[in-house]
Symmetry: C2
Subunit: 125 residues, 2 copies
């Protein structure tokens, strides 16, 4: 299970940086939930999750997993990664901690992200 | 709230490294839960939580928060820290990701820790 969970985490971060959205959605179980960041509306199910990731689909972006932060406990994982998004003439950098729970097939059944707008830095490019 | 949460996280990591147990317990709400690591029995309430932290109370140990990892979202926090414990002629090092939820008074109402035994390294001292 630990290796499978690790593989999905690596795949997830890679796909968030590259797309396509549909491959991100496929990492989730059909009735999975996404709360990103914690405190915002919970997206439930593939349609809501697709809509969530589609927001960044057309942005110039890249992601880097911090592999030394991956911690796995049974079917749960926590990790940090950095996402850099270019929007207009600004580059935004955010490094959240995400936690995920997985089902026995290695599909994500819940994702919650720990960050606030204050954690996001921006610079002109 | 964010500063209060950050203060409790810093206080928590410091006290886990130094004790006394009672001051750790005081950071928790009366009916709080601790699941450390995720997948083990959940300790609920001050008595069970005291018993949990008492296990390390008499060990030579130290903790270091990784402040650059603290992420706060509303009344939730996630962070990494390192705990080094000396036991006999071995020194054990572990760096979990802990997540916490807080009530409006800044008391911890739940703590869950992401790590497995494989994350622990040991060396002779």
């Amino acid at each position: 299970m630990a290796q499978q969970v690790r593989d999905v985490v690596e795949q997830y971060v890679k796909l968030v940086g590259s797309g396509p959205t549909e491959e991100i959605v496929d990492l989730y179980a059909a009735d999975a939930t996404v709360e990103d960041p914690i405190g915002t509306d919970i997206k439930r199910g593939h349609d809501a999750i697709r809509e969530f990731y589609d927001v960044i689909a057309n942005l110039d972006r890249e992601t880097v997993l911090k592999p030394e932060t991956i911690r796995i406990a049974g079917n749960h994982a926590a990790f940090m990664f950095t996402i850099v998004t270019k929007f207009g003439d600004q580059r935004f950098t955010l490094t959240p901690i995400d936690v995920m729970e997985f089902d026995d097939d290695g599909k994500i059944i819940s994702m919650r992200a720990y960050w606030t707008p204050e954690d996001m830095s921006s610079e002109a490019v």
